[in-house]
């Protein structure tokens, strides 16, 4: 099975994020960059599928030259090759979905697996847009993925429980947190990744409208949390929860 895994580069979740004084973005000096954790889960799932039934795992990212590092990490985990669609400008989700659709038409994967969202902007849009553009079925928030011939069954995490859906390939699956625990890039894997193909394609060579439809006007850091308050007794607590917080 040929599996395409789109990957995004994001700040390490453990990094303390500082918003620039003018609100135009975040301070990126000394930020550690990693593969979006949900995409890492997608890579892991793709590798497990390949280990079970053979095939090829192709990574694709849309970004700057520095994104090579995250693609190399994915190759070191075990992916076979990678494509970097080079764009110096930051693109919105629609442009990225269009570029990925182009790559999918060219690569003809059996399945595209990607994170349900990126942990930086939390958009949760690319997988769904991609499904619409390609006209493929989609299963978002996957916590279990199984195959039988050209049929795929996915257990989805939905509000209040689990939903099981079945569909034919080709298809889009977006990953949720509990799907798997990603492996580390082993040291032999890191050495092997050196020799794997990492192809660069300029974004503007794909004939796709990249005009942003979305403009980020301003970023604000979250407000400082208010200090808690001590109450003297259980009676007072219940009173406060009922009258002030109005939660009981």
């Amino acid at each position: 099975m040929k599996i395409l895994v789109p990957v995004k580069r994001v700040p390490d979740p453990a990094t303390t994020i500082r918003v620039l004084p003018d609100g135009s973005g975040i301070a990126t000096d000394n930020v550690k960059w990693v593969i979006n954790p949900f995409d890492e889960i997608a890579i892991e799932e793709a590798l497990r599928i390949k280990e079970k039934q053979g095939g090829e795992v192709v990574l694709v990212a849309v970004g700057q030259q520095t994104w090579q590092e995250q693609l190399r990490t994915g190759l070191a985990m075990g992916a076979d090759r990678a494509i970097l669609v080079r764009s110096e400008a930051a693109l919105d989700t629609l442009a990225i979905a269009r570029l990925l659709a182009k790559i999918a038409e060219e690569q003809k994967p059996d399945i595209i697996i990607l994170g349900k969202q990126a942990i930086d902007d939390d958009s949760n849009q690319v997988g769904q847009m991609l499904a619409e553009m390609l006209g493929w079925p989609q299963a978002t928030f996957a916590s279990k993925v199984e195959f039988q011939d050209r049929k795929c069954t996915v257990v989805r995490e939905v509000d209040g429980g689990l939903e099981t859906v079945a569909f034919d390939l080709p298809a889009i699956v977006t990953t949720d947190l509990r799907l798997n625990e990603p492996r580390y890039a082993s040291l032999p894997g890191i050495m092997k990744a050196r020799k794997k193909e990492l192809k660069e394609i300029p974004a503007d060579s794909l004939g796709v409208d990249l005009t942003p439809k979305l403009k980020i006007k301003k970023l604000d850091p979250p407000p400082k949390r208010q200090a808690g308050r001590k109450v003297a007794s259980v009676e007072e607590l219940v009173q406060v929860l009922h009258n002030e917080a109005k939660v009981i």
Binding site: A14, R72, T73, Y184, A185, S186, L187, P188, G189, R194
Partner: protein, 389 residues
């Protein structure tokens, strides 16, 4: 406590690492975070080594990582150093295991073994299926290994070994021991396999340091080995000493890891604990200690990076390695003691990793050439005067 394994990188030294080196570091750090930290306090308390981690470490490629061929990964010395740094950020005992397996045992076979010995032992050791130990130190000969009393006597086509080795990391775990012994004309190295008649081990208990590591005595009573068990390329004391240089190199990096964990811990602790009117980190005395540790860690990182460059270029002298081992371990020990002090009473319990690192570093300060011996090596180098005897 949030992420005690995080980087301390005041001078953006990360930029000087290649993506592969950073990836290697991240892999080992994740391994320590997920698989070592949850179990290490228990092992330290029980005086046991986490043997079940060995297959995982082997699978990730950590043993003999800077050796080429024979099933080893063949990374450069920066990557190797970073592996040691991250392991020791978890526990010095874990790094000791990796050092003894890689830099002492595997390196001895790699550098001084016959082709047959290399093919027989190195791939198994890289896979973690075979554990090695390195028998140089004796009960009465630590800093002066040249005075060793263990003898190897010719007996027909083979050899007969007699003597006692002490303070041997992994001694009773090892399937193969590299035993250094005096022959009629020089010191030679022998590969003695577990179960060989007359070869026994006894673990040393009652340690207050390196409790998550096995330390043993090797006892050799008329142990017969064939001549094919002798390391043919090791001639004299230079053999084992060059292995020690490899191990010291890893220790110099490892010490940074231990210091970093202590520093991160003290920084988090003093930034959240309030005494009198403010957090501890707001007091000048505390800031002075934190800045001192951060400065020393940064300097140690620079020494190690430069040392790694020289080593990769084949230009590192043993004295360079002595400089780094001496400086970095003393630095880490002081960092651990200061961090212990800043944590107050909480600094003496195993809820925090600091006291464990502090106790471990007392061993690191001593083994593979004490602080004072490194001082004499450097003193001899700059003055031309040998102050050893």
């Amino acid at each position: 406590m949030a992420d005690v394994l995080r980087n301390v990188d005041f001078f953006n030294l990360d930029e000087l690492l290649t993506p592969e080196e950073r990836m290697t570091r991240d892999t080992v750090r994740q391994f320590v975070q997920r698989e070592v930290l949850p179990v290490v306090e228990r092992h330290f308390a029980n005086e046991t080594f986490p043997l079940d981690l060995v297959p995982r470490m082997a699978e990730l490629g950590m043993f003999g990582a800077n050796l080429k061929g024979y099933g080893c990964v063949g990374m450069n010395n920066v990557a190797y150093g970073l592996i040691m740094q991250e392991l020791e950020a978890g526990d010095s005992g874990l790094r000791s295991f990796a050092s003894v397996q890689s830099a002492l045992s595997m390196y001895a076979i790699y550098a001084f073994g016959s082709e047959e010995q290399k093919n027989r032992y190195l791939p198994e050791m890289a896979r973690g299926k075979l554990i090695g130990c390195f028998g140089l130190t004796e009960p009465d000969h630590g800093s002066d290994p040249g005075g060793m009393e263990t003898r190897a006597r010719r007996d027909g086509t083979g050899w007969v070994l007699n003597g006692t080795k002490r303070w041997i990391t992994n001694g009773s775990l090892a399937g193969v021991a590299i035993v250094w012994a005096r022959t009629d004309d020089k010191i030679a190295g022998f590969l003695v396999e577990k179960g060989t008649s007359g070869f026994t081990t006894r673990d040393i208990h009652g340690k207050f340091s390196m409790r998550a590591s096995v330390t043993s005595e090797l006892i050799l009573e008329d142990v017969r080995v064939p001549d094919s068990a002798r390391l043919p390329e090791a001639r004299g004391l230079g053999g084992p000493l060059s292995c020690l240089t490899q191990a010291r190199y890893g220790i110099a990096w490892g010490a940074i890891g231990a210091a970093r964990t202590c520093y991160n811990c003290a920084l988090d602790y003093t930034r959240s604990r309030r005494q009198f009117s403010r957090v501890l980190a707001g007091y000048q005395l505390v800031q002075s200690k934190l800045v001192r540790i951060m400065t020393e860690i940064t300097k140690a990182q620079m020494v190690c990076l430069r040392l790694a460059q020289l080593k990769d270029a084949g230009r590192a002298r043993p004295e360079h390695v002595s400089f780094a081992k001496r400086n970095n371990v003393a630095m880490a020990l002081e960092a651990a003691r200061l961090a212990r002090d800043m944590l107050g009473a909480n600094g003496i319990v195993n809820e925090y990793p600091v006291i464990r690192h502090m106790l471990n570093l007392e061993t690191v300060n001593t083994y593979e050439g004490t602080f004072d011996v490194q001082t004499l090596i450097l003193g001899r180098d700059i003055t031309g005067e040998n102050a050893f005897e």
